[in-house]
Symmetry: C2
Amino acid sequence: MSAARAHLALPHGEVPLPAFLPDATYGVVRALDASDVGDCRVSAVMMNVFHLMQRPGSTIIKRFGGLHRLFGWERPIITDSGGFQAYSLIRQNPKLGSLTDDGLIFRPEGSTRKINLSPEKSVQLQIRYGADVVICLDDCTHVQESIEAQRESVRRTIKWAKRCKQEYLRWLDAEESLNSPRRLIFAVIQGGGQLELRRQCAEELLAIGFDGFGFGGWPLDAKGNLLTEVIAYTRELVPREFPMHALGVGHPRHIVECFRLGYDLFDSAMPTRDARHGRLFVFEPEEPLNPSTGNWFSYLYIQDERNIRSDKPLSSTC
Amino acid sequence: MSAARAHLALPHGEVPLPAFLPDATYGVVRALDASDVGDCRVSAVMMNVFHLMQRPGSTIIKRFGGLHRLFGWERPIITDSGGFQAYSLIRQNPKLGSLTDDGLIFRPEGSTRKINLSPEKSVQLQIRYGADVVICLDDCTHVQESIEAQRESVRRTIKWAKRCKQEYLRWLDAEESLNSPRRLIFAVIQGGGQLELRRQCAEELLAIGFDGFGFGGWPLDAKGNLLTEVIAYTRELVPREFPMHALGVGHPRHIVECFRLGYDLFDSAMPTRDARHGRLFVFEPEEPLNPSTGNWFSYLYIQDERNIRSDKPLSSTC
């Protein structure tokens, strides 16, 4: 199976599909400047509104005219909404904040500050920051949580998606519509491992109407295996003409697997973080891209004696 | 007073004088790649043979064809000999090694390795690494050490300089002499605060014959003040046509002061290290370059709230 679309047309350019987006959580891919990232032919990066609103903060981002100008990055930016952070920070540690139907309240550890993020505010910030793709605030879960928790997450995700869409439309009217293509809005499909809830979530979100969809929730089971069945099923719920983003999927084997299932976009901090710690992924160009074997790539530990001594490119595909 | 020469002609290009060389101790200016350093219009960098022989080590440096190719730096490199490291590591902590007339022996902490560095080996490595300017191994002191220690340091520095010069000449014969300009060799003048010892050292080194000279020994007194009198006196011992390097001098005020005294070359890790920690030096372009006031530059703390919020260049001279 190949991607239904060849590219995603966005205000800051076209993103050829499929695309892996490095996470530039706080606006930068650590240890690299924007020109290095561009030189690596990265077509778009993923930033995170929940982190950016705290550091450097909205005042500074807006003062500099948005994320593109502040970070010197001229290609598209997709901003995540903060839903995953609500999950990973607040759901895992309730004393850091709370989730209600109105959004999330976060109290950073060791700080008296309180951060409110409603569905409207998340969309508003993403737009004012200049994101090319806005993602609706969602209520994220782990597949192991109870069916009640999954049901509640789907209910809230749909409710928030409606409010996000309204906010997006309000801004769309205000924005110069002369600029073509317009910025897009994606919604996130939740439901954990419950296929029926995934279906319900997808149908409701399709009815509200979005430009694309994300597979939401932690994409791995407790053993670290990709939730292939649920991911495949969820893709089939959404017509092929809509691009789908496998949120947080970044392991090469998982990317190939999700691509085979019809996903177009991927993001993760893992490949660049691993690289900073000396572990690189390299293609084995002779091997077919078979998701079940994974023989088509290998790990390269750059600090190994033989690699330190080598003056060859990392891979014959470089 | 201005520099007697307009530039230093070296195998990898001309260095306009005066020049400040950032310390790329282990081959890189930390947090920057060679193209960033080049973009800052740095004309040459200072590396350190004592550190490089340990990491990445001579085998790798030679395998990659020398420092220029290994680190992707195409402009001149001056390599320090290891004399200052012998001072700062061994003299301050004798259990890490010892100094004899044959050179230094260094036992890195937590390692069973033993590193020998003789005058000949220091020159040999600097040449094989591809340095544009080789610096003789010297026996460095602090100005507060006893006159006996200073006398011993001068005796050994002269003795080593002779051996370094011989080794340099041996390699010069072996090298293709078609390449013009040739790599240069500098010797270092020691003597602490003893003017008579400085004079003796300078005269002996001039008699051996070098292309340039360094002011050796820690250049500050116990209070952190520049040893202006000794630095001035030492410069006067050396005819103006020889370039002089104020080794380890990097504070803007000290650079201007030493330049006024006739020094041409400066190096320090301090400006780039301070920058990594958020303290920058900026010119105040309206103020004259008066060494005694220092009003012509100021500190800028990049993490200050007003600087974080500013979208202006750091200085009107940028």
